[in-house]
């Protein structure tokens, strides 16, 4: 393996992406990601000196519009999709970890 990315780096990227992997998954993912990053590195063969980056191919630039609310007043309908709700609010577990004393 060319080792463009190692297991620790994969762990780090996973934490940035709010994902977690088991050891077996890390074993499988690390060489796969390494191979794909190897494919990415073929781009270094392309001379891009002085070339502008493209971030959009839209023919619409800086489109302005009035900030008008429409399709509103649907909180009840929206809450039907919430995994947990109470009294018109989305309910979530405690933000502060109660599983350990700090």
């Amino acid at each position: 393996m060319a080792n463009r990315i190692n297991r620790d780096q994969v762990q780090h990227v996973a934490s940035l992406a709010k994902l977690e992997f088991t050891d077996a998954q890390l074993d499988a993912f690390t060489p796969q990601l390494d191979d794909i990053i190897g494919l990415f590195e073929t781009l270094s063969e392309v001379d891009t000196d002085g070339v502008e980056a493209t971030s959009s191919v839209s023919d619409q630039l800086n489109v302005m519009r009035e900030d008008v609310a429409d399709n509103w007043g649907q909180s009840q309908a929206l809450l039907k999709n919430a995994p947990d709700a109470a009294r018109g609010f989305v309910k979530v577990p405690a933000i502060i970890d109660e599983s350990e004393d700090n």
Binding site: V13, L19, L43, T54, L78
Partner: protein, 489 residues
């Protein structure tokens, strides 16, 4: 109902003449889907009650001559939101999601009085080229049920190819309309970036995603595109360019005489199957005989498209998919101690492996210390690829080539090998990077499997592609061949 012998125009004529009602047509469509879908598995959900109600209302109001789509069933890929109809993007994380609004394309189809028959299967979040990353079911190729239907719009392509519907919507970020259309022997259009509003499309790669139609024939495709295209205040990347009546030029007078066509040598290079290559060379001869010029041209940076795409699309996906956090909608993991746990466990349990792979690649490419080397480099290579297309399209009306290097491959053959799977998109991805329109249409067979041809045009010139596709159809019979499936044809 035998959709192999019908198109939009003939169905419309029958409905106007009251040979059958919209409700009868809708019921016949459901009956046929129920008979054939156990073999094909194209649909994730059927919209039975609402569709029959809608059809009955259309019948009550009457179908007029100037309503060419009224009362005709259509299928919608399940990453396009449909009000009150479960929309999953084929992901466990959205398994029970019921949208509270319709995507603009869905509203437009409803305004044209098309009847939404159901939601079709796809690769999870449209990430894949075989529909095998769906969390729910494996769609099969309409021609051979041991083969993949392609992806990610595999359900829409298989549904049209197997005669379940005459038209379906798909989405295309790197080839996801064109490649399954090619694998199933149907017509698929990836419109110019900005031609169709993406409001209500579950976002994957926002600088690349487009919605487009899959149909059996070119004219039907053109008719549906005119119905869904146009500016939308809800999608500020949607163009204000006027939308032509794309089908109106598709008559006996349509001709390719005098057109200049570019055939990039890179499109017939290494890795392209011999039968695919021969089908495209034969199509080039057909165009020459019809009075067009076909020149060998070059897109020298085409081979870098896949690498650039997987950086850009994955980066955009890693950002777009941050919204799936288990809070407001979608899957939430149980057994959690705190908010961080909700995020991490919901995402880790809710997403499948391919989606996680893309999120990881994107997060890596955007992360501190790697952004310049990966994301920014890819965005610059994108410019180089765009310039290649500009140079060829400056003096060519369109570009022709294969859609995919091979016909449909075996189920299970490539799913364990991401790079092999990614390389299937080498001929479609550059078109998304450049935001150009791309039409996929039947152009031959290889061992009883369809081979697709791709026509690539200038921005907002879908008209030329449809015209060239229509003329090709008039002079070949590939589009008339249909799969054998359950004896219904």
């Amino acid at each position: 109902m035998n959709y192999f012998k019908q198109d939009l125009a003939s169905l419309h004529a029958d409905l106007v003449a009251k040979k059958y009602s919209a409700k009868e047509l809708t019921q016949a469509t459901f009956d046929n889907i129920k008979a054939t879908d156990p073999k094909i598995d194209a649909f994730l959900a059927l919209n039975e009650d609402a569709a029959l109600d809608q059809a009955a209302k259309i019948d009550a109001a009457g179908i007029q001559d100037d309503q060419p789509l009224a009362g005709i069933p259509v299928a919608i890929k399940d990453n396009i939101v449909t009000k009150d109809l479960t929309t999953t993007a084929a992901s466990k994380i959205l398994a029970n999601f019921k949208p509270v609004y319709d995507a603009t394309v869905s509203t437009k189809l409803t305004n044209a009085q098309m009847v939404t028959i159901g939601k079709t299967n796809l690769d999870e979040f449209a990430m894949g080229g075989s529909t095998e990353t769906s969390a729910f079911k494996q769609t099969k190729n309409a021609w051979d049920q041991t083969k993949v239907p392609g992806g990610s719009s595999g359900g829409s392509a298989a549904a049209v190819a197997s005669g379940q519907v005459v038209a379906a919507l798909g989405t295309d970020t790197g080839g996801s309309i064109r490649q399954p259309a090619a694998f199933n022997g149907v017509v698929g259009m990836k419109p110019t970036y900005g031609r169709v509003s993406r409001w209500g499309l579950i976002a994957f790669g926002s600088s690349l995603d487009q919605i487009g139609p899959l149909t059996r024939g070119v004219k039907d495709n053109a008719t549906v595109l005119s119905a869904i295209a146009g500016h939308d205040d809800h999608d500020l990347t949607s163009s204000t360019q006027a939308v032509p009546s794309f089908a109106s030029d598709l008559t006996d007078a349509a001709s390719v005489k005098g057109l200049r066509i570019g055939l990039p040598k890179e499109f017939l290079g290494e890795g392209v199957d011999e039968d695919v290559k021969n089908a495209i060379l034969a199509a080039a001869d057909t165009y020459r005989q019809l009075g067009a010029t076909v020149d060998e041209v070059s897109l020298p940076h085409n081979k870098y498209g896949v690498a650039a795409y997987y950086i850009i699309a994955s980066s955009e996906a890693s950002s777009n998919l941050q919204r799936y956090d288990g809070i407001r909608y979608g899957y939430r993991a149980q057994d959690v101690q705190n908010l961080e746990d909700v995020y991490v466990k919901s995402r880790s349990e809710g997403f499948g492996d391919e989606v996680k792979r893309r999120i990881m690649l994107g997060t890596f490419s955007l992360s501190a210390g790697f952004y310049d080397a990966y994301f920014l480099k890819a965005a610059k290579v994108r410019t180089v690829i765009i310039n290649d297309f500009k140079a060829v399209l400056k003096d060519h009306d369109f570009i022709m080539g294969p859609v995919a290097p091979t016909p449909a491959f075996d189920l299970g053959a490539e799913i364990k090998d991401p790079i092999t799977m990614y390389m299937n998109d080498i001929l479609t991805i550059p078109v998304n990077l450049a935001g150009l329109p791309g039409l996929s249409l039947p152009a031959g067979f290889s061992k009883n499997l369809p081979v697709g041809m791709q026509l690539i045009g200038r921005p907002f010139d879908e008209s030329t592609l449809y015209k060239a596709g229509y003329v090709f159809e008039q002079n070949t019979d590939f589009h008339l061949q249909v799969p054998t499936l359950g004896g219904q044809n």
